[in-house]
Amino acid sequence: MSGMFVHNLRLGAASLRRNVLLTALMIMSIGFGVAASMVTFAVFRAVSGDPIPQKSAQLFVPQIDNRGPQYNRNGEPPEALNYTDAVALMRAHKAPHQTVLYAIGLSVMPADEHRMPFKAQGYATYNDFFSMFEVPFQYGGSWGGAEDESRSSVVVISRSLNQKLFAGANSVGREITMDDHAYRIVGVTEDWDPKPRFYDMFSGNAYANAVEIYIPFTLAIDQKVDTYGNNNCGSDGKRGDAHDGWVRGECVWISPWVELDSAAQVQAYRQFLDGYAKEQQSAGRFNWAPNNRLRNVHEWLDYEGAVPPESRISLTLALGFLVICLVNTIGLLLAKFMRRAPEIGVRRALGASRADIYRQFLAEASMVGVAGGLLGVVLTAIGMLGVGLVFEPHIARLAHLDVPLVLLALLLAIVATVLAAFYPTWRAAQVQPAWQLKSN
């Protein structure tokens, strides 16, 4: 059998050499089709991936409608919470783990006086943030519940900020000055930057630069640190005057997250949210029925439209392109195989079965597929260099060529070519031995 297979491959190679132009056309056709699909798929894979696969089914975003049917958008509650609701969820403590967060930007004053101050971006959050999102630490760890409670001036910094300020040394216990306020470093995270940044879709930071600082939410509120991200007030007037009025008002700017480990916990949390909204209703704050949502990471990313439409459109078009390349290959293979009708007739007359013909021509097609796949991989690598021209840099830099993508390109090329070869091969196998042996 294997001897036969090698023989078929030899026959195929000889046949492919006989008509170089047709063979080259087929290989290029497959190569271009596969490369276009792979490049756009690499981008799509990067933006549609699960940023926290081990936990995406346990992490949920609670949404509470604090606007009511007159002002909310298409009946959906706002995409973040106001301060009142955020604090209420934290106080109620109805999930095993919960946190709320908002984006901050603080000016960091390097200890070395000759260095310029710079802006560091990050989040004001609770200590559960680090365990819920499984943030890896290089040195130290997160602050504790006590620090949240006492509004301590502590900070967790990223590996890159630690590199910038302390040349990578263990800086736990040292102090840094941000916005003229001293913070004690309790932990240094490893490079950790899930893409898209599922936990802050609200501020449009899905593909933003990596985070450098985390400070306690309670402290940030105490220090009147304003949000560095979005603030959405809707169109009713209850937004409050001045900073304190705004904090107590109905503008939303805080992203909440809860971790729920079982269906029962999810059910219980939904009931809690509805109960809370009913309380607000009876207290006169909401004059509408509870309208809450509890979405997990997948549902949340989907709702927030994490995958840019550009990526979907280009993937769709590239697949259409691949289909055309395959139709093209079918035509060329048909021309190539049928040109050899006399040869097939002779082989059939000499006792070759239809199955033999199938094997011979499919072997030839798979060689075209392998060659097309290899060309496809090369073109994909070239295409990757051009991804930056087509997609925005923060998205383009996520796409990369790795081993699975190379294997997928080869597999796609071979499977597609063999599928394309079925019809021409079937036609070749239909050639009648007797008819072909007659003088043409």
Binding site: L25, D180, G240, I313, I324, V390, R427
Partner: protein
């Protein structure tokens, strides 16, 4: 030319005929949708901002520490003085945002205080009495702000401007009779009198989410005095842009070092701002262009390949026809007509497919309806492509000598 013999010949090559027609159909469907997307993106990215872009740049200035609103206001006024006195500067202003920034403050405007739904959304720009001059936006009605009307505001203070200037599209939406100047609207719950109208000032974002209030902007007489920082918009005198872009941050640091102006994007010319704002659109147009070209090349190659095969297969018949008196021109015309017939079938099916794909994209990606011109352009391109591709094999066929009729395989 009699097409009957061609049709009966094609019936003997059903598979090849169908494959070429199918390929032409699919190519047409993708090419006219791609051309349409390219046109839409290019039209989008050439929309004007209203700003004198060639001479204007923006400084993103962030304060160190967290100064009080009063302190930030004092520093900002000093900065504006420094900027306006700089040689080569035509004018400078401060704002909360600028066109093409990508995001900013937008809010609803109502005609009566107790109205539930907003009459229109609007992009909100903070500006002083230098704002219009700096951006080089002429008034078309009413007047500019007076210096005494400009007040400082902290970010969470209530925005309650007694007066405002609006763009024409916003004015027309609010007051379709064209008499917006002098009228009172309710903006963030408070009455605001429209004192002036400008022709054009684009929103901060050109993304889809902001399309509901595209071109509808409102300028309020405010200086945004916040601890985070502020944008300075500076217009240089003609030809001075590069020099002023270098001199401005130096002068600011010299006057007050407690600030952060990022090295990479702290000072941006409008050319850079525009390029960044439309990165996605430009990339999409480029991708579509490349796909179109490669697709057309592959389809042409496919036609050449299959037609060559047919010519090779029919050498004997061609010889017979030539022996019976057909001229070289007749043979050439035969293959050209054959391709034309197949192409016609292909483009007919392709046109339907193109419309179907477009309708699907309209629902899926909020695209516009395909205009007929693109369909016709695509049809024409593919018919010409088919004729061009078939020319070489057809010429080869026409050169088959009559003696071929007598040869046996």
């Amino acid at each position: 030319m009699d097409i009957k013999p061609i049709l009966s010949a094609l019936r003997r090559h059903k598979a090849g005929t169908v494959l070429i027609a199918l390929q032409i159909a699919l190519t047409l469907a993708i090419v006219c949708n791609a051309l349409f997307i390219i046109q839409q993106r290019l039209a989008h990215l050439s929309e004007p901002t209203g700003v004198d872009e060639a001479n204007t740049f923006v400084i993103t200035n962030e304060w160190v520490g967290s100064p009080s609103s009063q302190r930030a206001d004092a520093m900002m006024r000093e900065d504006l003085r420094v900027l306006r006195e700089l040689p080569g500067v035509a004018d400078a202003t401060s704002s909360n945002s600028f066109p093409l920034r990508g995001g900013g403050w937008d809010d609803g405007i109502k005609l009566t205080p107790d109205q539930v739904k907003d009459t229109s959304g609007a992009a909100v720009y903070f500006g002083d009495d230098h704002f219009l001059n700096t951006l080089d936006i002429p008034l078309i009605a009413g007047r500019n702000f007076r210096p005494e009307e400009i007040t400082a505001m902290d970010v969470r203070d209530r925005l309650a401007p007694p007066v405002a200037i609006v763009t024409k599209p916003l004015a027309d939406k609010l007051f379709p009779n064209g008499d917006a100047v002098g009228k009172t609207v309710y903006f963030v719950g408070n009455p605001t009198t429209i004192i002036g109208e400008v022709e054009l000032l684009q929103s901060q974002s050109v993304e889809r989410w902001a399309s509901a209030f595209a071109w509808r902007s409102i300028i309020v007489p405010k200086r945004l005095a916040v601890s985070l920082g502020v944008f300075y918009i500076v217009r240089a005198q003609p030809g001075q842009l590069d020099a002023v872009m270098r001199a401005a941050p130096e002068a600011l640091f010299k006057s007050n070092p407690r600030r952060i102006i990022n090295d990479d994007d702290g000072v941006q010319s409008y050319a850079t701002i525009r390029a960044k704002a439309y990165e996605g659109d430009r990339g999409m147009a480029l991708l579509m262009g490349v796909i179109c070209l490669v697709l057309l090349a592959i389809t042409a190659a496919g036609i050449v390949g299959l037609t060559s095969f047919w010519v090779g297969q029919r050498r004997k018949q061609i010889g017979v026809r030539r022996a019976l008196g057909a001229t070289q021109k007749d043979i050439l015309r035969y293959f050209m007509t054959e391709n034309f017939l197949i192409s016609c079938g292909g483009v007919l099916f392709g046109a339907l497919l193109a419309i179907a794909i477009n309708l699907w994209m309209v629902t899926r990606f909020e695209m516009h309806r395909l205009s007929l011109a693109y369909l016709l352009a695509g049809v024409l391109i593919l018919l010409l492509l088919g004729q061009g591709a078939v020319l070489a094999p057809a010429l080869r066929a026409s050169r088959v000598p009559p003696v071929e009729a007598t040869r046996s395989v």
